[in-house]
Symmetry: C2
Subunit: 299 residues, 2 copies
């Protein structure tokens, strides 16, 4: 199971108690940080995020409301004696910014940072359970979405049944993959020999983007889509000019991609309340919700 | 009259709801920002600081807890269409850091920033009512304190009395300065011709520093001294090693300098509560107080 905790749901200028973009994706094995606006480390304190568990940080683009909190987090990691390697995925130049700031502070971090430049659509992290892929979105500067996808969960072998039906070990891999056991005329249905596990989950983070149909193919059928929704429908023209999206545009992407649920975020400071975003999006895609700071959304 | 509003009173790692260093000094004509740790712009929202009135920002040194919030504040100034020139006083390299971050964001600020490098002890800002002087403190990297001093307030001429005693205009300047009127045998006491105005105020900000006696001469007799007090007395050795001060060391500086009041700040995250700082400092210098976030201290 995945869960996403929202640390910041506002766009560029913090207002109405809302913070710039940051969220934490919890998977069975990882705590991934996605974007890191100013104040992220304080929000982690407020919402009790176990920051020492974060080993991978994904920065969508180098507008400040998505990374100004990173240097403070790294400095605090250092002051808290972190030693684990840290992997940061971002457009290039971030490394230069971070290293310049550490240099003037005469600071040597007690852990190693591996910077990975986002340059093309590809899988940027993978282990035996999950993959993370970056995909291009359409913003004023180079900007990337991230798709977190659990690998297909293998069925679990029922050892009692294996014994009973005398299944050879050479067939176990087929059983894991859901195949029936066949030996001559004998067919034993997979369901008799294995038990199911929870289905593989997926989460897509669309970053900052204008309405951009190519995203649809990338995120098809994900369980949860976070899509920016800086403006309400009435300001569609402003959204276009600024390479942002409206509530209805976000919902249209969700609908076309057939996702299970849509989470809206990155709200403009001009909106003091957010209910209208949900109302507008729901007209197009029913299972739409507001990304509330501090709330945890299960996938 | 001056007033100091504390936006952050914690040292490097934000904790217990406390923020890194930032404070705003209000004088009759200016709103000066002194240091600008991460989250300063959010704290300005929380405490209703009229940020558009800030034209001068003083950064004591380039440890992150004193300036990581600056780039976010500048970006927000830009997004809020600021056009007034902004003056930033800091150790060099800050300009390079800021400009690199603006460059990667493809951001052109709609206002001009004048960067002023702190390199020697001197008056760095002055108008007809106030001067700001920087002075060296003793920290791990180049670090500066700031002394804000109102110019001697001139006495106000009572125009009715001037007429009555037929004082020539050529003598007005002497009257402003408090001199009696003398013409032959006639002496008219200044108090008969002028009224007093409030005495000139002064505020010293000692930045991050180890116990450093040369500060005493710089800040002699100021109305309010803010002095860092990262540790309690029991950790004096740690304070020495890290170029920080204890509560008692801060109080000793205040006492030697004969200041009117001492404000303690920059508390280590290891302390959940702060009362003990005041207790310890008061043993040496009675008029000691804790710099509480959100509180406004009048000078």
């Amino acid at each position: 199971m995945f869960s996403v905790t929202i640390l910041g749901n506002n766009s560029a200028v913090p207002a109405h108690g809302r913070h710039p973009t940051a969220q934490v994706l919890q998977t069975p094995d990882h705590l991934f940080l996605i974007d890191c606006g100013e104040g992220t480390q304080m929000q982690m304190n407020a919402y009790k995020i176990r920051r020492s568990k974060i080993n991978h940080i994904f920065i969508s683009h180098l507008h400040g409301d998505h990374y100004y909190g990173l240097i403070g987090l790294l400095t605090s990691f250092g002051l808290n004696h972190r030693t684990n390697d840290l992997f940061i995925y971002s457009p290039k130049v971030l490394k230069e910014i971070i290293e310049l700031q550490l240099h003037v502070a005469n600071a040597n971090l007690p852990f190693k940072i591996h910077f990975y430049n986002l340059e093309k659509e590809e899988i940027i992290f993978e282990d035996n359970k999950i993959s993370v892929e970056c995909f291009k979105v359409n913003h004023r500067i180079s900007c990337w979405g991230f798709l977190f996808r659990e690998k297909k969960n293998l069925r679990k072998i029922d050892t009692g049944k294996i014994k009973k039906y005398n299944i050879p070990a050479s067939f176990y891999e087929n059983l894991h993959e859901g195949k029936d056991f066949i030996a001559g005329d004998t067919i034993i249905k997979n369901e008799l020999l294995t038990t199911s596990v929870s289905p593989a989950k997926s989460y897509a983070y669309s970053a900052d983007t204008a309405f951009h149909e190519p995203i649809v193919e990338k995120i098809k059928g994900v369980d949860l889509l976070y899509h920016e929704s800086t403006y309400l429908d009435a300001l569609e023209k402003k959204a276009v000019n600024r390479f942002h999206s409206t509530s209805k545009q976000a919902a249209t992407i969700a609908k076309k991609a057939g996702v299970k649920k849509l989470l809206l975020g990155h709200f403009s400071s001009m909106y003091e309340t957010l209910d209208e975003f949900k109302t507008e999006a729901s007209e197009i895609f029913e299972n739409s919700d507001i990304a509330e700071e501090g709330a945890c959304y299960f996938v």
